[in-house]
Amino acid sequence: MLRRDLLALAALGGGAVFASGLAGCATRAAAAAGGTKDFYFVQLSDAHWGYQGPANPDAAVTLRKAVATVNALEVPPDFIVFTGDLTHTTDDPVERRRRMVEFKSIVAGLAVKPVHFMPGEHDASLDHGAAFKENFGETFYTFDHKGVHFIAIDNVSDPGARIGAQQLAWLQADLAPRDKAAPIVVLTHRPLFDLVPKWDWATRDGAQAVALLMPYANVTVFYGHIHQEHHAMTGHIAHHSARSLIFPLPAPGSQPDRTPLPWDAAAPYKGLGFREVDAEDVGSRYTINEFPVVRA
């Protein structure tokens, strides 16, 4: 059975979204020349380890169940990304580090390596990313996989939700030598565009990052923060947010406050989950498959 067929079966109970289809002739030619292959990765987000509250009375085990579900995927992903808010914020720096150590011990159970971690504001905004760096390494970086260039952007270590001039210069330098048709995936926590500013669903200087990316024909952004699947475009750049592993939040701007959706005891983990991202044609097309925390 082809992996594509497996995905069609695996998506039962979740949903498949055709995410991006901007392949140009140049990209396809590059794919043929580079001899690269299709692959897929898993995106996990917003575990908020340490959260205690009515929005998820099962918080102590939800992350562990998600790890087990990822490990049980029929075909293992090439790698895993975790797009921020690994832990729930605390004003106590000792407790913050304790939560990070616990989180690491749980996700160490993920069978697939590597796992690329990004910070969320809950992890990094109160100490400019210090505890995150101690436990997970740099807050912004790049890596390459089978012809696709991945860029992790940190828009949370600044408590004002700025990427900042230094990181923007780094981004510009990283992009400068690349072919305008190069397949690029951006991973980040907050939306890079103004989704709902009154709910703090924005990056203050995100438009500058988008402007730097705009000359590149083949860019796709995966992010977290808003605890739900959401798809938007800025020009030709697609932005896809992921579900969380703690509690869902309301649809963008749908109510006065962004309070968590109430826990449904009749349907535990409703609205939570993770996704597979299937990169086809050297990252010129992506298919997203959403999965629940626990599969039937």
Partner: protein
Amino acid sequence: MNGFNRRSAIQAAFAAAAAAALPAVFGQAAAEPRVIEMTARRYTYEPNEIAVKAGERVVLAIRSIDFVHGLNIPDLGLRFDLMPGRVTRVELQPAAPGIIDFLCDNFCGEGHETMHGRLVVSA
């Protein structure tokens, strides 16, 4: 924006700033705006719900107590850093009835996500 005309609101905000120059030009005393004293501290603005009449000039005089809190009023395209120990003055003149939300957009701690408020603009 909750029944409120955003363009009118922005125009009103800028009009209020421009109006300050009028007395010098025409030698007339313009009505002083109503000053609303506020505090910002983890994790609340006090008051966090402010009643204003449409067309009324108000100044939010905000003293931050314990952090560089933010004041972001997205519908008016305005934001400020509220420096601790200082009073930040923000003049507004909402043009039409409606709700104008504001929030702290500098992550300030465990209760940051509850730090927000609103102007309730009546006819």
